[in-house]
C-alpha cells in the first residue's frame, strides 16, 4: 500500500536519480515496488539511454542490431552440439579438443567472444562434470550462446557447489554414489563445456544425427544425452 505512489514517479525524476551512480538504484527502487510497471519502465529507460547514446554518436543502432542478430541467430547450443558430435565420431578431434579446446572449436568455425579460453571436461562412467559461475554468469558463448535465466539465478549459483547432486536431481539426473561429481566454478576467464557421454544405441548414427541429440543442458552438465527414441537401451 505504501508503494502506491511508485507508478507516478516521472521519468525525469527517475533518470535523474540514476545519473548519480551506483548507490542510487536503491533509493530509486524504494519507490518502485509496483511490479506491474516494471516491463514498460525498463523499455522506456532502455530507449531513452539508447537514443542518447546514438544522438551523441557513441553507438550505432545498426551495430546493436548486428550484435543482437549474432546472439539470436548465429551462436547457440547447436554450435556446441556439433563440437560434441565431432568428438564422438573422431577420436583424433576429441584428443585435440581436450588438449586445446579453443583451437579445436575454432576448427569448426566458432571463435566469438567469451571463448578464447575454453576448456572441455569429459564425462565418463565414473565422472560427471557440472559447470557453474557462482560470482556472476560466465558461460561459453561461442558454443552455447547466452546462458538461460536459471543458470544466472541465485538458486543454481548458490547450490551447484554445495549440493551438486541435489541440483542434478532437480534436473532429473541421478548420479550414482560411486561416480565422482566435479563442479567447475568459472571464477576466471576460462569457460567450460562438458563433453557428455555418447549414449548407447547410437553406433550407426551419422555425425549430424548425433549432434541433434546433444542438448544445452548436457553441455552444462545438468543432464545426460538421452538415447534416440526407439533405440535399445
Amino acid at each position: 500500500m505504501a508503494d502506491s505512489e511508485g507508478s507516478s514517479v516521472e521519468r525525469r525524476g527517475f533518470l535523474k536519480g540514476l545519473a548519480v551512480g551506483a548507490a542510487t538504484p536503491a533509493a530509486m527502487h524504494a519507490q518502485d515496488h509496483d511490479h506491474q510497471d516494471v516491463p514498460s519502465d525498463l523499455t522506456l529507460r532502455t530507449k531513452a539511454l539508447e537514443s542518447l547514446l546514438v544522438e551523441k554518436g557513441l553507438v550505432d543502432p545498426a551495430a546493436l542490431d548486428a550484435l543482437i542478430d549474432t546472439m539470436e541467430n548465429k551462436v547457440g547450443p547447436r554450435n556446441g552440439a556439433r563440437v560434441v558430435a565431432r568428438a564422438w565420431v573422431d577420436p583424433a578431434y576429441k584428443k585435440r579438443l581436450l588438449e586445446n579446446a579453443p583451437a579445436a572449436i575454432a576448427e569448426l568455425g566458432y571463435t566469438s567472444g567469451q571463448g578464447e579460453h575454453m576448456v572441455v571436461v569429459e564425462n565418463g562412467p565414473k565422472v560427471h562434470n557440472l559447470i557453474v559461475c557462482t560470482l556472476c554468469s560466465c558461460y561459453p558463448w561461442p558454443v552455447l550462446g547466452l546462458p538461460p535465466v536459471w543458470y544466472k539465478s541465485a538458486p543454481y549459483r548458490s547450490r551447484a557447489v554445495i549440493d551438486p547432486r541435489g541440483i542434478l536431481r532437480e534436473f532429473g539426473t541421478e548420479v550414482a554414489e560411486d561416480v565422482e561429481v566435479r563442479v567447475w566454478d568459472s571464477t576466471a576467464e576460462l569457460r567450460y563445456i562438458v563433453l557428455p557421454e555418447r549414449p548407447a544405441g547410437t553406433e550407426d548414427m551419422t555425425e549430424e544425427d548425433l549432434a541433434a541429440l546433444v542438448t544445452r543442458d548436457a553441455m552444462v552438465g545438468v543432464a545426460r544425452v538421452a538415447p534416440p527414441s526407439g533405440a535399445a537401451a
Partner: protein
C-alpha cells in the same frame, strides 16, 4: 567484497526455475541492453572487471530483486555518467547538450563483429613465472578485500591441489579499480567437497576453481 553476488554455498534460495524453449531474450529491451553494454565496452572507458564490480555494488535487495538484464541496464545508466560519456543533465533531459563532443568513435556495423569476436582482456605472457606447480598443495588466502575480487568466500582458508596452470591473466582485483593489470598465473585448483563443506559432503566429489597467484599461499 563480501557481496550478495558471491553466492556459492548460500542456502534458502529455493528450487531452480526452469523454462522450456527459453528465448535468447525475453523482451526487445533485454537484447538492446545486452548490445548497449557490448557496444559501450568498445569505447574503452572501463574494463570487464570494473564492469563486473559495478553490478556487485548494487544494493543487495536490488541485486536479488532485479532481473539479470535489469541489473545490466541500471548499472549502465550509472556508468555512462560515472565515466563521462553523459552528463547528469543529459540523462535528466534525455537530450545531448548542444555542441557536446563526439570524441570517441562509435561502434559501427563494420566494427561490431570484431567486438563480438574480440573476446576478453587477458593474455599469455611467458615472462611471468608461476609461483605454484601442478600437483602442489595450496591454501586459498583468508582475506576479505573490500573491492572487487574473484576469490569466492567459500574457498577462503581451504586447502586444495593445483590441477592445471592456465597461464597468465590480468588480475581482476587491481584491474577493476584501474590500479594496473598485475599479470600473474591462473591455476585450476581442486578442492575436495569435504574440505569445503565438511563430512556430510560426498567423499568423491570436488569443486574446481580458477585462482590467481595472489589468491593462494603455500601449505
Amino acid at each position: 567484497m563480501n557481496g550478495v553476488h558471491d553466492m556459492g554455498g548460500q542456502q534458502g534460495m529455493g528450487p531452480v526455475q526452469y523454462e522450456r524453449n527459453e528465448p535468447v531474450f525475453h523482451a526487445r529491451w533485454e537484447g538492446r541492453v545486452w548490445a548497449l553494454n557490448r557496444a559501450t565496452a568498445a569505447l574503452r572507458k572501463w574494463n570487464l572487471d570494473a564492469w563486473r564490480h559495478d553490478i556487485e555494488l548494487l544494493p543487495p535487495v536490488d541485486y536479488l530483486r532485479m532481473s539479470y538484464y535489469e541489473r545490466w541496464l541500471v548499472t549502465l545508466e550509472g556508468r555512462v555518467v560515472k565515466y563521462g560519456l553523459m552528463t547528469e543533465e543529459e540523462m535528466e533531459s534525455g537530450k545531448a547538450a548542444p555542441g557536446s563532443t563526439k570524441a570517441t568513435p562509435a561502434l559501427t556495423l563494420a566494427t561490431s563483429s570484431r567486438w563480438v569476436n574480440r573476446g576478453i582482456a587477458s593474455s599469455q605472457d611467458p615472462g611471468v613465472p608461476p609461483l605454484f606447480a601442478v600437483g602442489e598443495s595450496v591454501r586459498a588466502r583468508n582475506v576479505n578485500p573490500v573491492g572487487h575480487t574473484r576469490l569466492p568466500r567459500y574457498t577462503r582458508g581451504k586447502t586444495g591441489i593445483v590441477a592445471r596452470d592456465h597461464g597468465v591473466y590480468i588480475f581482476p582485483d587491481t584491474n577493476a579499480h584501474f590500479q594496473g593489470e598485475k599479470r600473474q598465473h591462473v591455476y585450476s585448483v581442486r578442492f575436495s567437497a569435504r574440505e569445503l563443506w565438511g563430512e556430510s559432503a560426498s567423499p568423491r566429489d570436488s569443486v574446481y576453481l580458477d585462482m590467481w597467484d595472489d589468491y593462494l599461499e603455500r601449505v
